[in-house]
């Protein structure tokens, strides 16, 4: 990732639900558990979360239902006022923003897809999609053109005049996606955006978002329950439990070195070979002694399976994208990952 300043920077963010939460948080002793807080009549939606998201990065948040994923997203977009800590977007503390500035920020930089769509019931598909553009003060014709464009992109062509209640769940979700696509925000909050889509469209949409992120360098925070999806999209994955982030790391590190037992349990069903890339197992240093074709550092072990089994070299040279050899990978280690260590 780039080393520049983070786009979103959360430091010790707390969000407590309950009566006068600020006061409660102030007097909260350290290391109080989620259950103890709950016993006091508060719910820790977000519990002491620190995380940075960089430009052009796709951060995927995972966790069980009720673990606080949506709440964290809402804190970042300031739909919730946080109880403690700071959140900065482009080095600007969002809690200190005036109402006007906040509106500007949302109009110009942020977009969100909601878990249960949040469509305006009295507006047609077209008007729903054009709504944020309307708020930006764009003129009628431009907004119509742009809206039609994204409606086509999500495959709802011909339904522009339908009302939300006349659409299926998946179609409604696509309207929500189209609405956020319409403004092409710099920062994108996606709360389970594809949960109601069929596999085919879901894949298309994933590709679309990957393309946008690649081409335009968008920053995306993505919530999902689907590990496959996470693996396809994520630069980093954050695993949440009871409001806290248990671990936030690249997919292969999460799978190979789970920081806590919970993360280990969470990831145990995953086929390690699909996650781990050659790069992860690689030992740096260019040993000229090994001959033969080099393997790409970004290939997963699963993708390399055939080579690993057929090619009997002890070590494989590994090359980066530009074709430069950067290190070697041990075949035995790689096979262990592929077959799973019994």
């Amino acid at each position: 990732m780039t080393n520049s300043n983070p786009v979103i920077s959360c430091k010790n963010v707390w969000k407590l639900f309950g009566f006068a939460p600020e006061k409660y948080l102030k007097n909260l002793p350290e290391n109080k558990s989620y259950e103890e807080i709950q016993a006091d009549g508060y719910i820790a939606g977000v519990k002491d979360v620190s995380v940075d998201v960089f430009k052009g990065e796709m951060l995927v948040i995972m966790g069980l239902s009720g673990s606080g994923k949506s709440t964290l997203l809402r804190c970042m977009s300031r739909l919730h006022d946080i109880t403690g800590g700071t959140i900065a977007i482009d080095d600007q503390d969002i809690m200190s923003l005036e109402e006007k500035e906040l509106i500007e920020l949302r109009r110009n930089k942020m977009g969100m897809v909601f878990q249960s769509f949040g469509l305006l019931p009295h507006r047609s598909v077209l008007e729903n999609v054009a709504f944020p553009l309307e708020m930006r003060g764009q003129n009628k014709h431009d907004r119509r053109d742009r809206a039609l464009e994204v409606i086509k992109l999500v495959g709802l062509e011909g339904r522009e005049d339908y009302f939300p209640r006349e659409l299926s769940g998946g179609q409604q979700q696509r309207v929500g996606i189209a609405r956020s696509l319409a403004i092409e925000p710099d920062i994108w909050f996606l709360d389970e955006p594809f949960s109601a889509l069929d596999p085919l469209i879901r894949r298309e949409m994933q590709d679309e978002f990957l393309r946008l992120q690649d081409m335009l360098g968008k920053t995306i925070i993505f919530v999902t329950h689907d590990f496959d999806e996470a693996l396809r999209l994520a630069d980093r994955i954050a695993i949440m439990k009871d409001g806290a982030i248990e671990q936030c790391d690249t997919p292969d590190k999460i799978v190979l070195n789970p920081a806590t037992e919970y993360v280990a349990k969470f990831t145990q069903e995953i086929d390690t070979a699909r996650v781990v890339r050659a790069k992860t197992l690689m030992k740096p240093g260019n040993k000229k002694s090994i001959s033969g074709p080099a393997l790409s550092e970004n290939a997963t072990i699963q993708e390399l399976a055939r080579t690993l089994i057929n090619d009997t070299r002890k070590e494989f040279p590994i090359q980066n994208e530009s074709g430069k050899i950067t290190g070697t990978m041990n075949r035995q280690e790689a096979l262990e990952v592929l077959l799973g260590d019994e």
Partner: protein
């Protein structure tokens, strides 16, 4: 553990309070029997009664001038609108033409357009029209003004039509609507009332648009009946007030509702006020209206407007609170400003509740407009009052039918609007298809207008042309009542009820010492509703006692209690047997739904027909009025019992009766209590109306105040009624809440 112990103590505590209060109350009664009760415990001594009414009057008289000068301003604006409508509907003369009046007419219209359409173009166009109208009235004399106006209107109409065809946008349509309203109004200046056939046809198109053939028939049919029966002018007198009062009420209610939703403090302040307002007898609305807003339509309209505001406020706050948080968040993320949030997200999303509010506003307005007959407002109500006074039952009956038809029509149409959701058109549908109904309505309206220029019958129905059968029906009804058997039954009922039930009960209540009466009510509230309602009960009834109107209040209470009790004796068995079958439940619910829309005044009619003018008629009119909610909620409650429960009872081998007593009734009771509560509230409302028949209660005294300017007395009397009603309301609703919680129904 600790909790349950302290709970136990609390219960013991509550119980002991309850018993000691009851004992005290009985003690006073016994004391009175043996004649040792001190007089001040029996009745509040005259000299101790605070002079509420006089104090209020004094305060009022000191501030009268500036208050009336403000209200005068509003009443003049209102008067103009009323006159325009009156002119349109039944050809009353309008002779003045004041710029401020134009603003008062166009400003709400403009605001309304913007509210619906939300686009600036709507705002701009509507403001341009109103501004021009104002300028015209400033600079041009009355005669030329009309010519210019026509040119101007013609141009805007052409422009609007061009815009629709070219861009297919909605706002010019609305603007066109306004323009045509103006055109019609101005047309009215010259041409007089709208032809009845035009109105009937438009109503039919509207009905068809909202709910298909049935509503088309209802909409058109109501007006056709009204015209043919020869009551067109009366109905239009009533409707012309309604047309002004309902929108004004709606807008004020909406704005106050939004304020209450935004500011919690305001909400807290408003809520108790609204409860009082909703239980205040209608006479208390009428007198201030008369004093502040002149007599006649203006006062009537004003009373009506204020009367219909509270439910609109409640529905608005309810609707806005219910908007789903994700929709709100979607609005925020789109970068809505505060005003945009309100106008583009909250209000459209709360559409259903707001329209339900509108429905309630319309129905309350109608009920009140009819009642304003008491302050001399002409129209259906006044005619009905006069006809009943002179015992012309046939004509009364016909007017009754008209009122009922109008009520049912307004109710059904507005309810159909509530459930009507926008539906998309196929792409490429031509503009006339998109706006088919609007065009149909315009064609129907103007078509019949032209038609009636040729055919007089379609325009106005003359004196000799109508089909009223008043005399014949009169004869029929009187003949029926004269049949010996009927006479015997009603006569016996009258005798039995009056001498064996009502009078003794009333005398008993009047005999009970005030102090033990108050204590007894308090005990009742404590037992049923808990501590809070009990405290209210004690305070409220003590206040009533302190006003010096105790005996009359007790008579009011006695009438309410006897009527509701009788209604229960009749209604509950009916409802229980109807609830057994799906088919009958549906029928009876439909009937109750319909009956509930009738303006309360109507219920006097059958009572007077059957029993003449006496106590029994009073009780009877309240009885049928209260039967409606009683039956309705009982049926709903019983039908709402989950089938698993009754099946479980079946499996346990319960007989039908056991099942009813042990399973169905207990579960239905909270819902039934709501109906019971509503019945009591209705009864308090009706008992005041029954003052017309001749009662000796607060209502009678209230009616008398209308003749003078006893504002203070009127207010105090109204408050007595309101507080007694609220006592029951608090107690029963608090019980219902507790019960629902206990049964896990919430």
């Amino acid at each position: 553990m600790q909790n349950s112990i302290s709970d136990k103590y609390k219960i013991i505590n509550d119980k002991s309070i309850l018993w000691s209060l009851l004992a005290l109350s009985i003690l006073f009664v016994i004391a009175k029997i043996i004649g040792v009760l001190p007089e001040f415990l029996n009745r509040m001594p005259e000299e101790a009664i605070p002079r509420y009414a006089e104090t209020l009057d004094k305060g009022f008289n000191n501030n009268r001038d500036w208050m009336t000068s403000i209200t005068r301003f509003f009443s003049e604006r209102l008067e103009f609108q009323l006159k325009v409508m009156a002119h349109l509907f039944y050809g009353a003369r309008v002779h003045f033409f004041n710029p401020i009046d134009w603003v008062s007419l166009t400003f709400p219209a403009t605001a309304f357009v913007y509210f619906i359409d939300g686009r600036k173009i709507a705002l701009v166009t509507a403001s341009v029209i109103s501004l021009t109208a104002v300028l015209f009235t400033f600079f041009i004399g009355e005669e030329t003004q009309l010519t210019f106006m026509w040119v101007f209107l013609g141009l805007s109409a052409v422009g609007a039509i061009y815009l629709i065809i070219k861009h297919e946008v909605m706002s010019p349509i609305i603007v066109l609507g306004i323009v045509s309203i103006y055109a019609v109004i101005l047309n009215g200046y010259k041409l007089g009332p709208l032809p009845w056939s035009s109105i009937a046809a438009t109503a039919a198109v509207l009905g068809y648009y909202l709910g298909g053939w049935r509503l088309a028939l209802l909409g058109g049919g109501t007006f056709i009946w009204t015209a043919l029966i020869g009551q067109w002018k009366l109905a239009m007198e009533t409707l012309s007030v309604l047309v002004v009062a309902a929108p004004v009420s709606f807008v004020i209610g909406l704005m106050l509702g939004i304020a209450a939703w935004k500011f919690t403090k305001f909400d807290k302040f408003l809520r108790p006020l609204l409860s009082v307002l909703q239980t205040l007898p209608f006479f208390t609305y009428l007198l201030p209206a008369v004093i502040f807003f002149k007599v006649g339509p203006t006062a009537g309209a004003m009373a009506t407007i204020i009367y219909a505001i509270p439910p609109m406020i409640l529905m608005t706050t309810l609707g806005l609170k219910k908007v789903s948080p994700e929709i709100v968040e979607a609005g925020k993320m789109a970068g809505c400003s505060r005003f945009q949030m309100l106008s583009k997200v909250y209000i459209p999303a709360a559409r259903t509740e707001l329209l339900v509010g509108l429905n309630q506003v319309i129905m309350l307005c109608l009920a009140m407009v009819v009642l304003t007959a008491f302050i001399g407002m002409p129209g259906l109500g006044a005619k009905l009052l006069a006809m009943m006074n002179s015992f012309k039952l046939g004509r009364s009956f016909e007017i009754g039918v008209t009122i009922v038809l109008v009520a049912v029509m307004l109710d059904r149409l507005s309810k159909a609007w509530v459930v009507k959701q926008p539906v998309h058109f196929e792409r490429g549908a031509p503009w006339w298809e998109r706006h088919f109904f609007l065009l149909a309505a315009i064609v129907a309206f103007f078509g019949f207008m032209l038609f009636s220029m040729e055919v007089q019958f379609a325009d106005q129905i003359g004196r000799k042309q109508h089909f009223s059968k008043g005399k014949e029906i009169d004869g029929l009804i009187k003949g029926f009542l004269d049949i010996d058997a009927v006479q015997a039954v009603t006569g016996w009922l009258r005798w039995f009820l009056i001498t064996k039930v009502l009078i003794p009960f009333r005398d008993l209540l009047l005999w009970v010492p005030t102090s033990s009466f108050i204590l007894f009510i308090t005990v009742f509230s404590l037992w049923l509703g808990g501590k809070k309602p009990a405290i209210y009960a004690f305070l409220f009834f003590s206040f009533v006692a302190s006003t010096g109107w105790w005996d009359r209040s007790v008579i009011t209470l006695y009438t309410v209690i006897s009527a509701v009790a009788l209604a229960m004796i009749i209604g509950l068995p009916m409802a229980i047997s109807a609830a057994r079958s799906e088919k009958w439940s549906k029928r009876i619910l439909l009937f109750c739904d319909t009956a509930q829309t009738f303006p309360s005044f109507i219920y006097l009619l059958p009572a007077i027909m059957l029993f003449g003018i006496n106590d029994v008629a009073v009780i009877f009119s309240i009885l049928i009025f209260t039967l409606v909610p009683l039956i309705r909620y009982t049926v709903e409650g019983l039908r709402g019992v989950p089938p698993e429960m009754t099946e479980a009872a079946d499996m346990a081998g319960a007989s039908r009766f056991q099942k009813l007593i042990n399973v169905q009734l207990p579960l239905a009771l909270p819902t039934m209590a709501v109906g019971f509560n509503q019945a009591i509230m209705f009864a308090f409302f009706m008992v005041i109306i029954a003052a017309f028949i001749g009662t000796q209660d607060l209502g009678q005294e209230l009616q008398r105040t209308l003749a003078g300017t006893d504002l203070g007395k009127n207010f105090v009397l109204g408050l007595c009624v309101s507080l007694m009603a609220l006592t029951f309301d608090q107690t029963i609703m608090s019980w219902t809440e507790k019960r629902k919680k206990a049964l896990g129904l919430k």
